[in-house]
Structures are given as structure tokens and as C-alpha cells.
Symmetry: C2
Subunit: 399 residues, 2 copies
């Protein structure tokens, strides 16, 4: 077996995204111990940077030692006790996953459903909250990675708090790409991942909990069913006490610190959002100009993840294989009920660059033409450039 030598990809799938060279360099840094005074400083810095990215003052804002799904499990095992009633918005795979996770915690789950690709309407949530008593929490997915739908938070938050439930948000694919606004939207518990718009490798899950959520946790009658994810112990390691719980993933902590520093301090959160917004629009206008149909309707689309219908007669796997092998471009296929029906194209974090939009549209146009699909040739890149604020035959904007 030889030394590792993987191919060089451009990651435009639903995550992981390309990792910035500065973050890769940070990961080659020799380790210090997980109780070293300097590492405790680094943990403090990570907490500060996470608070800035989550847009919150929540004290309990830490990175869990697992991928985004471990963050989902963290929220449910710590907030839910057997028999609790919870409402979950299901409009994609990750809503489904929340139901599964919550049920394993003994929750009685009330589903509020919408077709995959649409959003959950506040009215539907309100109806359930009015028809039931003692709902402990309401959970929705901010950015459905399986569909590309962008769920508005403000109105649902208002309804949830009116009924004195906790508001839980899955921000795995939104954090760092669009505004999450934890405090502004009065989100009580939120989890995310590192491998989407933050552009660190997968392996940590940022979470944040409001004082309301902490109060609920402190009144638990039963032990948290997961030792590994039990925040009553973990907050003592991240807090002043610094009690050893488990060995923190040192190198991943280096990575998230550097990745967040690039987002919050070097580029700035608002500029990062603007870049995602502009290039997401650009990609979407390019795809439409090519004659393709986007799966999510206008006004509800994520900029950082676009789902587009695979034109009739086109071989899903063959196109993705060619993109990967001939262009080194990774995009995502459909998940669950969208398998074989859509492609999912990510423009997340360091992958979100003008040249990637241009290369992808050009490559896709070539491959669809080869497959005999009826598309508009030559229009996509021009439309995309225009949406970036550039004329055709001009140069790409600086990033």
C-alpha cells in the first residue's frame, strides 16, 4: 500500500466542500494535549468564532466531537425525555432523520409534512400547536440538503414561542452560507456541520443552546441516554471547570478555528453571505438559461445548494461519472424519493467561486449535448456571468 494520493477534485456536491489551503495547513500542525493551557485557549477562540457565526450570545456554543448527524442527536438526546411530545417539520430526508432520532429518544413525534422541495408553512405548525397540549419542541430544517429548499424561520419561531415550546433548527447546510440568526430568530437549539459552508473537513458539529433550552435540560428527570453526547458533562469541559470528559479532536479543532477565522475575520460574515447569494443566483440563472428546470420554486431556493431536474432521457450516473472523471467535478445525485430525478449542485464555502460556476455550466453543457438532451447551447455561461454583474466576454469578478 502506498502513501495516500487521492485525485484532485472540485467539490460541488452537497458537502464536503473544498477546504481552504490555510485550513489544510492548520491540520498539519503538530498536536498539543487536550488539557494543555494553550488548547483551552483555542477552545475559547472556537467558541467565540462559533458565536459570531451563529449570531448568538449563547454561552453554551461548542463543537461536538462528531459529524453533523451527531449534532442532531445531541439536540434530541439532551432535550427530549421518554414520552415528550415533539413536532417535526418533514419536507426532505433530514426532517425524516430527525423523526427517527427523536423516536429513538422515546419522543412522541407529530409530523408536519410538505412535499420534498417545498417549505413548511407556519400555519401548518400553528394548527398542530393549537390542537395539542404540552408540545416540548418544534424542529425544522433551515436548509434541506436533500432538496435545496430554504425554510424561513421568523414566523415559525413566533408561533412556537407563543405556544411556549422550544424552537429547534437544523443548520447543517446553512451555517456560514446564509444568515442563521440564532438570537434574532429566538432559536433555542441549533446544530450544524463543518463540511458545508464553513469549509472545514467533516468531523465536528457546532451546536448552540439558548438559556431557555439550558433551563429545560437542567430540569431533566432522567439521565441523557448518550454518555458521549451528554451536555451536562460536556459543558464542564468547555466551561471554566475544564473537567475531562473525552479526548477532544485536537486537529479538527485546529481546522474549525482556522476555517471560522477565515469566514468571520478575513472575509467577514456579510461578505460571505453575499458571495454565496450572488453565485447561487448566477448558477441558477445559468441552469435555467440552458433550458433546465430547478426543483425548488423561486424565492424558496438555497443559494448554496441547487437541485435541478435531470432532463428526460439523460443518464444520471453517466453524467456524474463524466463530470468526476473528465472534469474532476463532484456534484450530488438525488436522495430518497428524488433519487435519479435531480442533481444537487453545491456552492459552499471555499467551493463557492465564480470559476467553479463557469466550469461546471460549461462541462454540463458539453455532457448534456453528448447525451442528446434538448438544451439551449451557449446561453448558460452568459446568463451566469450577467448575474455576477459581469457582461459576456468580460472577466470574472474578483473573489
Amino acid at each position: 500500500m502506498y502513501t495516500l494520493n487521492p485525485p484532485t477534485r472540485i467539490l460541488m456536491g452537497p458537502g464536503p466542500s473544498d477546504v481552504h489551503p490555510q485550513v489544510l495547513k492548520a491540520m498539519a500542525t503538530p498536536l498539543i494535549g487536550h488539557l494543555d493551557p494553550k488548547f483551552l485557549e483555542i477552545m475559547n477562540e472556537v467558541m467565540d468564532l462559533l458565536r459570531a457565526t451563529f449570531q448568538t450570545d449563547n454561552k453554551l456554543t461548542v463543537a461536538m466531537s462528531g459529524t453533523g448527524s451527531a449534532g442532531m442527536e445531541t439536540v434530541f438526546v439532551n432535550l427530549v425525555e421518554p414520552g415528550d411530545k415533539v413536532v417535526i417539520g418533514v419536507n426532505g430526508l433530514f426532517g425524516e432523520r430527525m423523526v427517527d432520532v427523536a423516536e429513538r429518544c422515546g419522543a412522541e413525534v407529530i409530523r408536519v409534512e410538505a412535499p420534498w422541495g417545498e417549505i413548511i408553512e407556519p400555519d401548518a405548525i400553528e394548527k398542530v400547536l393549537k390542537a395539542n397540549t404540552n408540545i416540548k419542541l418544534v424542529a425544522i430544517v433551515h436548509a434541506e440538503t436533500s432538496t435545496g429548499a430554504l425554510q424561513p424561520l421568523a414566523e415559525i419561531s413566533r408561533v412556537v414561542h407563543e405556544h411556549e415550546a422550544l424552537f429547534v433548527v437544523d443548520a447543517v447546510t446553512s451555517l456560514g452560507g446564509i444568515e442563521v440568526g440564532i438570537d434574532k430568530h429566538q432559536v433555542d437549539a441549533c446544530y450544524s456541520g463543518t463540511q458545508k459552508c464553513i469549509s472545514a473537513p467533516p468531523g465536528l458539529s457546532p451546536v448552540t443552546f439558548s438559556p431557555r433550552a439550558l433551563a429545560v435540560m437542567s430540569k431533566r428527570k432522567s439521565k441523557v441516554q448518550s454518555w458521549y453526547l451528554d451536555l451536562s458533562m460536556i459543558q464542564n469541559y468547555w466551561g471554566k471547570e475544564r473537567f475531562y470528559h473525552h479526548t477532544a479532536p485536537i486537529t479538527m479543532s485546529y481546522a474549525i478555528r482556522e476555517a471560522l477565522r477565515l469566514v468571520v475575520q478575513e472575509e467577514g460574515l456579510q461578505q460571505t453571505f453575499k458571495r454565496h447569494w450572488t453565485l447561487g443566483q448566477s448558477l441558477q440563472k445559468g441552469l435555467v438559461a440552458m433550458g433546465l428546470t430547478l426543483h425548488v420554486k423561486e424565492g424558496q431556493r438555497l443559494p448554496q445548494l441547487t437541485s435541478v431536474l435531470i432532463p428526460e432521457g439523460v443518464d444520471d450516473l453517466a453524467v456524474r461519472k463524466s463530470l468526476l472523471e473528465q472534469f474532476g467535478l463532484e456534484i450530488g445525485g438525488g436522495l430518497g424519493q428524488l433519487k435519479g430525478k435531480v442533481w444537487r449542485i453545491g456552492l459552499m464555502g471555499h467551493s463557492c467561486q465564480p470559476r467553479n460556476v463557469v466550469l461546471f455550466l460549461t462541462a454540463l453543457e458539453q455532457l448534456l449535448t453528448l447525451q442528446g438532451a434538448k438544451i439551449e447551447r451557449g446561453a448558460a455561461v452568459a446568463a451566469a456571468m450577467k448575474a455576477m454583474g459581469q457582461e459576456e466576454a468580460s472577466i470574472l469578478p474578483k473573489v
Copy 2:
């Protein structure tokens, strides 16, 4: 906030250990996707290398996406159902932790205790197995990181299988440092960490399950309480089906592949064991020659982790602080009931080098002399060198 620039340490605590430069370099490799055909190859390579290190043919031999404690939880959530009777050997902190984890799974735990620093006797296990029916599993810690005791496996395994229970072993600190011998010792479930003798950063937990354990899992009546650690799904991602479960920690997978390649293919498992054994002996003889007392009795000591009593009147924290600040050397303090009573000195993986033994003994001698401790001066390094097979004033052995 500036770019990351932590101090350069020599990690001689209970883990993490120093990471080999080749592994650090591997972690700076740009990412590929978690469903990329090349990444699936890397996963296969990791499984092969793990099987070689665990010394097993077990098909289900994978790296869980969390640190060693997540591996512990993986074993218990997948094997235990509410009401199951399990026997756990408790002779240190990690035995205690297993009890806590098992109880959170609804297990009825029967403890078999020994003083911290001693081993669990097979007779004590046998007595419990004879006195109880329907014991589902017996779990012990192979290398107690909190005490430095080395638990023999063979005789307990025989007793456990005679009573038709599963044999579970915590190999967090043993894997890659001493023989674990999963197949030889008929271990049914075993978990480990990456940051000890394998010398990758913390962040993954290698686990392996025997066909007997798989059969027990396949007969579960209840869902595994953790979605994140549910092997019924995870084995479909690592297996031929390649079903997406959660996003694998790509960079940590690069790290474990390279770290295991260094152990299994470059140095060789037997030579690695020999290096740990020789240098562990060397350190222990050096400490004794200095006049210090080891916490674990001879014949039951781990080579890769040595616990030594802090001499009377010596300031625990002051010595560790000076080791860290003046020499860049990290060692561990005592945990739980051994807090303030012992130091724990690791010689694990890439940290297990002759020059580290010599530097540590020399530094400790200086600091204990400063503190007015009654020690034998000048004897430690000579004794340590002799145990390496070298005469005093000779050169260090090549590693």
C-alpha cells in the same frame, strides 16, 4: 485573532501522543467526497489495516466517527437491550465509564471490582457467571489508562465463553502498542482510539465485532437507541451496498490510513510491540533507579503507560507545569481517586522513542531535586539505557 501557532510539545501523557510527520502531511491533503469511488477504496484499505492491527478476520471492522468513548458507546448501544444483564470489570476510571454507558442503555450491571491499579482476576468473573443466569456480555479494560494496569485476556475469555456470554474488551490504549489478538483471544467486540499507540489525532474509534456479536445484534428486538452509532446502518456504508449514512470524516480517514500503514507496513506490528515493550521497561527501570515507586506491581504493568507515585512533599502541579513550560514535555496527572497521587507517563506510538525516555528522566530528576525530594541522582538514565540494551555513555539505540 492570528493564524494558529501552538507551542511544540512532546506528548508523553495518556494520549494524545505525538503524530508522525507523515500523518500530519496526509492531513493536509485536499478532500475528496465521502462517496467518491477513490474514497471507498480508502475505506477498504482502512478496514484491511485495522484488521491487521486488531489481529482479526472480523468482517465488521471499521472506524466510528467519534473518539474512543464513542467506540465504547457503539459497543454497548448495539449489543445491549433494556433489561440485559452485563458484567463489567471495574479497576479504574474506564471500567467505571463502561458501567455508566451500559446503564444508560438500560442494562442491569453486575460489577466485578478490583482496587485501582490491580487487575481483574478470572476467578472473580467466573464466580459471578456461576451465580447468575443469562449474562449477555462480560466487559473488561485491556489497558487501564487511568492506572497503567495490563489486564490479561486469555483466561477470562475462556471463562466467559464457557458460560456463553460475549466477551467485550476496551483496547483504547492497547491497540498498536501491545498484542490485542482479537481472534486469538476470541474477543467478540472491541473498541479503541486513534490517539494512543496508533498515533493519529483523536477523532475516530476503531471497532471490531465477531460473527457471534453480529448474530446477537441481528436478533435485537428494539432499535439501537443511537441513530449515529447504529451499526445496522453503518455496516451498509462500509459494506458492499455503500448506502449513505452520515458524512464520513474524510481527513481523519486519511490520517488513520497513513498512521496504520506506518504501524502495519513500514515498522511491522511485532517490531512496534517490541519497541513499546523495551522502552516501557526502560522508563520503568529508570524511575525505580531514581528511587520512585511504581503504582502497578511488576508483571502487570503496561509498557506504554506508566503510573508512578508522586513522592511525598512534591507539588504535583508545579512539576507538571515546569515539565510543560521548561521542557515542552506533557505528562498526565492522576484521575479520580488517583488525582494528586500519581503521574501517568505515556510512551505511545510516535512518542515512544529512546530520546524521549532520556529527556523525561533527566528533566524529572532536575525538577524533583529542585523540590527537595529524596531521590537517587544520576542513576535513572544509566538504568534506562541499560534496559534498552545500551551501556552508559554509549549511544542511543536506533529506532
